[in-house]
């Protein structure tokens, strides 16, 4: 009997939860705020779905309702991607070690 591809995706999902569990516990508490902003940035990879939604169908019918939702989603995700990564970068730049004299 063939295995449904859904099972493979479910496996990836569950294993990723475990990876996430161990990786996040190893994050130092002082970097919890950057952790939140960077997880926020990477969850905007949902833009992948938004691009597919925006470009679906022939190009002469590009502004069907479903496409418009796609474009709006691109806009929102893009704010997040740029904002999230840049603000994380800005925060991480501030963490400095004591200068050794």
């Amino acid at each position: 009997m063939e295995i449904d591809p859904f099972i493979f995706r479910l496996s990836i999902f569950i294993l990723s939860i475990f990876v996430g569990y161990y990786v996040v516990w190893s994050v130092t508490p002082s970097l919890h705020t950057p952790l939140m902003s960077v997880t926020n940035a990477i969850s905007s990879v949902i833009i992948v779905g938004a691009i597919i939604a925006a470009l679906a169908g022939a190009s002469d019918t590009i502004f069907e309702t479903s496409n418009i939702f796609g474009f709006l989603a691109i806009l929102l995700a893009a704010v997040n991607i740029f904002g999230g990564f840049l603000v994380t970068q800005r925060m991480l730049q501030m963490y400095k070690k004591k200068k050794n004299k």
Partner: protein, 464 residues
């Protein structure tokens, strides 16, 4: 581009995202980690363009929207003051949530574009995945908006509760589940819209009963939700990058919520159901106000600290409100010049989001190896001459260790009272968020400095 090849590259992005989080295990590797994250995102976007393969007019529009959004994001990222980080993160969560809703709507309206079947006959599994993605996304959106308004101070941070609130939430939650089932049977668009609508309402109802100082839990929880919403959409789109990321973000947010709850010794449900201290406010406050308090000024504080050999600083939300972190750093610089050993003690729930105090201190150029977590530093209070409490309250209350009747009993607290003397900067004697009196105020070794955190610190600098 073949579907197999693009799936492989999505896996690569997923791994880069894991490395991005892994980098945060220490400040040295964190910057590199962020570049991994950016690389992963770039790969995902390029691969999507290549696999859709539509470089016509629509592609131009996509780029335009990408640029507009990117510019807005970049401007916000550079302009935002560090003290506004909690509301920024809440605001960003709402965008992820709404984007998830939009993608789900688009997939529902045009399933053939996503290989999910045709309108009126969408595959069962896809229907469940997209409606769950839409529902969680909608809850994330409206919940984050409320969190944003509360953090920004546009909406009062006080818990809003009413009778039957929890039952109403339960009913609405069950309704969503029932509607998803019904959607699978009927494929009706109206049902789909109803699910989205009810989820928006649930998001609002979930967050309004939660008070201001519980925001660290709420933000972490919404962070987690945004991850699960992304994962739901990832299943719909059969996209590995999205599934991996969703799982990572989901578990990350869940762990942070757990850490925050533990920092308050409260169960997750206790926080979510809201309204701490709203019901069992201490009634004896009138009697307690009679207790004597030692009142000091900036000169006394400066004298004490100058003659100390070690000082521990305990910052809290009040420091963020007063924007006192820079003045504080100046004060510490002067003390260090006088040969005083200074370190900082951070309680897990100090501030309005996880790690809030650390970012503010980093902004004020405090080296991160002078900043310690509760477990690392708590034993040092006994050997320390002066504890300088600035804007913190409940997290220093010794009652949490001694009085089983107290609502905060069992909460891990900083053993501030063990140091030789305690300087407590506070605007008044009013109780903190938990609505209980802080025993520390009336101790013999406590000197109260009644003033704005920033002004007081500046005055101390002057008299030093």
């Amino acid at each position: 581009m073949s579907a197999n090849l693009s799936a492989f590259f999505y896996l690569v992005s997923g791994i880069l995202f894991i490395l991005a989080l892994r980098g945060l295990s220490s400040p040295e590797t964190s910057r590199q980690g962020n570049y991994f994250g950016i690389a992963g995102m770039t790969i995902s976007i390029i691969i999507t363009f290549l696999s859709v393969g539509n470089f016509g007019e629509g592609f131009i529009y996509v780029l335009i929207f990408l640029l507009i959004g990117g510019t807005i994001g970049a401007v916000i990222a550079f302009k935002i003051p560090m003290t506004a980080m909690p509301e920024l993160v809440a605001g960003f969560h709402s965008l992820v949530g709404l984007a998830a809703v939009f993608v789900a709507i688009s997939a529902f309206l045009k399933p053939e574009a996503f290989n999910l079947g045709v309108i009126g006959n969408i595959r069962l599994a896809s229907l469940i995945e997209m409606s769950l993605g839409a529902a969680i996304g909608a809850i994330t959106f409206s919940g984050s908006i409320i969190a944003f308004l509360k953090l920004r101070g546009i909406m009062s941070g006080a818990p809003i509760t009413f009778k039957g609130q929890h039952i109403l939430n339960l009913i609405l939650g069950l309704t969503i589940i029932f509607l998803i089932y019904y959607l699978c049977v009927s494929q009706s668009a109206n049902i789909f819209w109803t699910i989205v609508l009810i989820s928006f309402i649930v998001g609002v109802l979930l967050i309004i009963p939660i008070g201001g100082a519980d925001m660290p839990v709420v933000i972490s929880m919404l962070n987690s939700y945004s991850g699960w919403a992304a994962a739901g959409i990832g299943f719909t789109l059969e996209n590995t990058a999205l599934i991996i990321t969703g799982a990572l973000v989901g578990s990350s947010g869940a762990i942070l919520s757990y850490i925050m709850c533990k920092g308050m010794n409260r169960s997750f449900f206790n926080v979510i159901l809201g309204g701490w201290g709203a019901t069992d406010q201490t009634t004896t406050s009138a009697a307690k106000e009679q207790k004597p308090v030692k009142n000091g000024n900036a000169d006394d504080a400066a004298f004490l600290m100058k003659n100390a050999s070690s000082v521990i600083i305990v910052p809290g939300y009040g420091m963020a409100v007063a924007q006192a972190q820079h003045a504080l750093r100046e004060m510490v610089d002067v003390l260090k010049k006088n040969g005083v050993k200074v370190s900082y003690a951070i309680h897990p729930v100090a501030g309005r989001m996880p790690g809030h105090m650390n970012v503010l201190l980093a902004e004020a150029n405090v080296p991160y190896d002078e900043v310690f977590e509760l477990e690392e530093i708590n034993n040092d209070f006994a050997n320390c001459d002066v504890a300088y409490v600035i804007g913190a309250n409940d997290v220093t209350n010794p009652v949490a260790k001694s009085d089983p009747q107290s609502p905060i009993y069992g909460m891990p607290v900083l053993d501030v009272e063990k140091s030789k003397s305690v300087l407590f900067v506070k605007r008044s004697l009013s109780p903190g968020y938990a609505g209980i009196d802080n025993d520390l105020f009336y101790r013999d070794n406590t000197l109260m400095l009644f003033a704005d955190a920033k002004k007081m610190t500046e005055e101390i600098v002057k008299s030093l």
